[in-house]
């Protein structure tokens, strides 16, 4: 794990699903100065960042340990932002079905992107789909209010 710091944080971690939790804990430990509430950080941002890194490792990098995931974090006073980039060829986020529809409810996968959309204020993919930016703002009145429309 490497760190290049300015007003934010950059991590590059090898593809290893066992490293996700530690990386997310580290990022969250650096966000305490933000005005985003601890509860929203620990639920909304933790979920979003965890799912983004997991998707990058499992689907983007196809579990290939020779590939890495880059996480760029900006800690603003009124928001936190993370950009997660993998070394895969990307995907079309519009092609992922809604896991809450009755026909998909019993599927054992496919909820990560949905949770990111529900819990974050903004979710943006680059054109090829191998980079996602997550934004959580401080001013949302509800702990769980998000509703990004990526």
């Amino acid at each position: 794990m490497s760190e290049l710091t300015g007003e934010g944080l950059v991590l590059e971690i090898p593809t290893d699903i066992h490293s996700i939790s530690g990386a997310v804990d580290y990022v969250l430990s650096r966000c305490s100065a933000s005005e985003v509430s601890a509860r929203r950080l620990n639920l909304n941002f933790r979920v979003g960042l965890t799912e983004a890194i997991a998707n990058a490792m499992m689907y983007g990098n196809d579990h290939d340990p020779s590939k890495s995931v880059v996480i760029e974090v900006v800690m603003g006073r009124d928001h936190v932002q993370a950009t997660v980039r993998d070394q895969g060829s990307g995907f079309d986020p519009g092609s992922v079905p809604d896991p809450t529809r009755p026909e998909h409810l019993a599927c054992s996968y496919g909820r990560g992107l949905f949770l990111m959309r529900e819990l974050l204020d903004e979710l943006c993919f680059n054109d090829c789909g191998n980079e996602v930016t997550l934004i959580l703002r401080a001013e949302s009145c509800s702990t769980f209010e998000g509703g990004a429309s990526a």
């Binding site: 699903i17 996700i20 997991a54 054992s108 529900e118 769980f144």
Partner: protein, 110 residues
């Protein structure tokens, strides 16, 4: 992160300590499948000491529930924190599982 397995009457109780996430979901899956192989049919998975479940953790619960039901058994969940309950409600998985307030209530009526 660990899974404590015990038995109360005929019910296998698994307590998830820490997190249920992509890095340890298969450990839980294998523990339950081992018990199914031994003929166990009724399960309670308790989250009283669980801080976080990710989408992979939710997914493994879905697949275990399906497997247990196919074998004629039943899986109940218990002791979800407010945050964990929110994840179940957002994904509508609260409609798929029987979720009890605590382990004792989950064991009632098996």
């Amino acid at each position: 992160m660990s899974f404590q397995v015990s038995k109360v009457n005929d019910v296998t109780v698994i307590e998830v300590e820490g997190q249920l996430i992509v890095g340890n979901r298969n450990e839980l899956k294998n523990k339950v499948l081992e018990k199914i192989e031994l003929g166990e049919q009724t399960f309670v998975i308790d989250f009283a000491n669980t801080a976080y479940i990710d989408s992979s953790g939710l997914g493994v619960l879905v697949s275990l529930s399906k497997k247990i039901r196919e074998d004629g058994g039943e899986l109940r969940l218990s002791s979800l924190s407010e945050d964990l309950r929110t994840l179940f409600e957002l994904t509508k998985l609260d409609t798929l599982f029987q979720i009890a307030e605590d382990k004792e209530r989950a064991l009632e009526g098996f």
